[in-house]
């Protein structure tokens, strides 16, 4: 896996911090663009490895849709579901493309969740 253990610890710390900041958090995943989990916090029964792969696919597909339709680069991808939201944002750290994804319960304010994910993504960006 790319990035030494210190690198992964830093990413993991961002995941934990984001989880702590969210309202009604269910899980936070940080995945590489190609679907490998590099940071996770929250309910482990949600299979962070699997979510990492799924969110990376969604991010890539969202990017293609956005470019094909002339909307430009994706900033944030959101899924609204019956019981909550998934908010995702892409970023890069030391040349490695990452996807930061947060799952929150329905009672959370979507705007705050989006803001928190954006902050986390900016915090990783270097």
């Amino acid at each position: 896996m790319t990035g030494g253990s210190e690198w992964q610890r830093a990413v993991q710390a961002v995941a934990v911090e984001l989880h702590a900041r969210l309202e009604r958090p269910l899980a936070v995943i940080v995945a590489t663009q190609d679907g490998l989990e590099v940071g996770a916090a929250g309910d482990k029964r949600l299979a962070p490895g699997r979510l990492a792969a799924i969110t990376s696919s969604m991010s890539a597909i969202g990017d293609v849709v956005s470019k094909e339709s002339g909307l430009g680069h994706v900033r944030c991808l959101t899924v609204e579901a019956e019981l909550g939201y998934l908010v995702m944002r892409a970023t890069r750290r030391d040349g490695i493309g990452l996807v930061v994804a947060a799952l929150v319960g329905r009672g959370a304010l979507l705007g705050l969740a989006m803001h928190a994910v954006a902050d986390a993504a900016r915090g990783l960006d270097r």
Partner: protein
């Protein structure tokens, strides 16, 4: 009316190349940087490859290529659902080529009775084993009778052969289902 054909298989088996050989438009790809050290590629598909064969007017057949890694098996199932058929491409130069076939057959188990399927085995000129017969025997063990042929997906003729075998099976199924 639209329909789709899916190309799946492990990484580096030639899915993107096969779609490129058929598509009437430049394929859309969702390739990203590869961070998996076990894969000797700079990029890898994480969503799907997309191409189109235009028939006439509004009719077209969509071509999809799936990601190859096991962690994306949810995409295999999403894309294969309701397809005309699925081409499973295997890279015989990989030491575990046969277990790759097992993996895809197991993962797509619930779908393979409803869609046509063809197995294309690549790089057999340099890596003849396992033999095509061995792959056919493994399919039979899994309870499937699908065509298995050796192919080079860089040759359009080979890709067309895979699709023709797929169409033959799909046509047979439709004819058998007629009351």
């Amino acid at each position: 009316m639209e329909a789709k054909i899916v190309f799946t298989g492990p990484p580096n088996a030639g899915k993107t190349t096969a779609i490129g050989a058929l598509s009437d438009v430049a394929p859309i790809m969702t390739d990203v940087d590869n961070n998996d050290g076990s894969l000797s590629k700079d990029t890898t598909t994480v969503g799907f490859d997309y191409g189109v064969v235009r028939i006439d007017g509004a009719e077209q057949v969509r071509l999809y290529g799936t990601p190859g890694q096991k962690r994306f098996d949810f995409m295999w199932q999403i894309l294969v659902r309701d397809a005309i058929g699925v081409v499973i491409l295997i890279d015989n130069s990989q030491p575990d080529a046969m277990s790759h076939l097992d993996e895809f057959l197991i993962s797509l188990e619930g779908y393979l009775h409803d869609v046509a399927c063809v197995i294309g085995v690549g790089r057999t000129e340099t890596h003849p084993m396992p033999s095509i017969d061995a792959f056919a025997a493994r399919l039979a063990f899994h309870g499937h009778v699908f065509p298995v042929i050796d192919v080079d997906v860089r040759r359009r003729g080979d890709v067309l052969m895979l699709v023709e075998l797929l169409l033959t099976q799909a046509e047979a199924r439709l004819m058998l289902e007629r009351p």
